[in-house]
Amino acid sequence: MIATEINKNLENKIAVEMIPEFFRILHVQRDTQDTFTLELEPPKSGFTFAPGQFNMLYHFGVGEVPISICGDPAINDKLTHTIRAVGTVTKSMQKMKKGEVLGVRGPFGSHWPVEELVGNDIVIVAGGIGLPPLRSSIYYILASREKYGKVVLLYGTRTPNDILYRKELEQWRARFDMEVHVTVDRAAADWKGNVGVVTTLIQRSHFDPFNTVAMIVGPEIMMRFTIQELQKRGVVPENIFISMERNMKCGIGFCGHCQCGSTFICKDGPVYPFKAIKDILVKREI
């Protein structure tokens, strides 16, 4: 009897979480040659999420993809996603226009522990398309800026043409209470910024390593080297958080597509304390 009830509840939960809601596209922003941002209107107001969570976006007739939410968590009548056109679904989404409809399921997954970081220096390290999953946490921190110590954003990308949110980066850099460094892997001689891997920025940044929490998103190789550099500066593993990416499908830890060792990235992640995931991060078989 009890088992039947549990099964029924589970079935209901799965049914609810597997059915997409219709979100209308309010605005399409072309960020770079292969990256674009969609602003979506929820069918009913009050879409809430925590920084670091993701949604499953369904382009009807094409397919569904997991995309991090990158808007301001304080705004709940608009949902923002920055997407890189790399596969069939995202390339098709890139062609979508204002007024068209996407299916949305979510929000899913764990989030950056922004509430618990109060009083600490914050170092945010983003590589490539790793900046969008961190943007909502930047909004959150800046909304209560006085509660945190130093805030440092380090962002590395391929070339100057691949820099995302350029205007916002300039605005953040212009603030007196935030340190922003951007670097690219290569550039022509007219580029006045940094050239070099993002990890080189860690030694140049100003923060108290013994009172610092780091949040990192980027390719896994970049995250590994970033963690090494942070540890060289004295940041303890307990204070390092990363966001993992795998082939998420159901978003509720049911299908197993994103299973990584004993953890399901869609349900237990994508945000993990480094200590909890460090063995998996170096395991070649996974």
Binding site: D34, V86, A188, A189, G193, V195, V197, I221
Partner: protein, 155 residues
């Protein structure tokens, strides 16, 4: 007379050296300044100095026909610019351009080479320190060779 010794001895590259070696190095040091856009050295020129950047930014560039100058690295406050003075044939392999007003301490490579030949302890200490810089720049280059931000499914 005030010397560059206090400045040099606090720099991470020099810090911890035997005081007599710091004195020797200071004897080869001079204060320099480069305006934004000024060329510090060019590929193929004699590499007779290296620099401890105190403040500013320097772009290391390589000229490629058809593409112009490409920046391969940038160096900033506290970084060491140049190790070609240590390795025969003592010629620069890249161009170095100050991208903003840059103040540095220039160290005479020829003078230091002679001092290193005469005092192998100093030579070994300097080589160890340069090896560490070469190691971190090589690591940075190797990571960039992966082209990890490409669109083939990587973040």
């Amino acid at each position: 007379m005030e010397t560059l010794e206090p400045l040099l001895s606090e720099h991470p590259f020099i810090k911890g050296l035997d005081p007599k070696h710091i004195q020797l190095i200071t004897g080869c040091a001079s204060n320099v300044r480069f305006d934004a856009g000024q060329i510090i050295f060019r590929e193929g020129e004699e590499a007779d100095q290296f620099y401890v950047i105190r403040q500013g930014k320097v772009a290391l560039q390589i000229y490629t026909p058809g593409r112009g100058s490409i920046i391969i690295d940038t160096l900033t406050d506290g970084d060491i610019l140049g190790w070609s003075w240590l390795i025969p044939p003592y010629l620069w392999r890249f161009d170095a351009v100050a991208t903003e007003l840059t103040r540095a301490i220039a160290l005479d490579g020829k003078c230091l080479r002679n001092k290193c030949e005469a005092d192998h302890d100093l030579g070994f200490e300097l080589l160890k320190r340069f090896a560490s810089i070469v190691d971190s720049r090589l690591e940075s280059t190797r990571i960039r060779l992966l082209d990890m931000y490409d669109s083939n499914g990587n973040k």
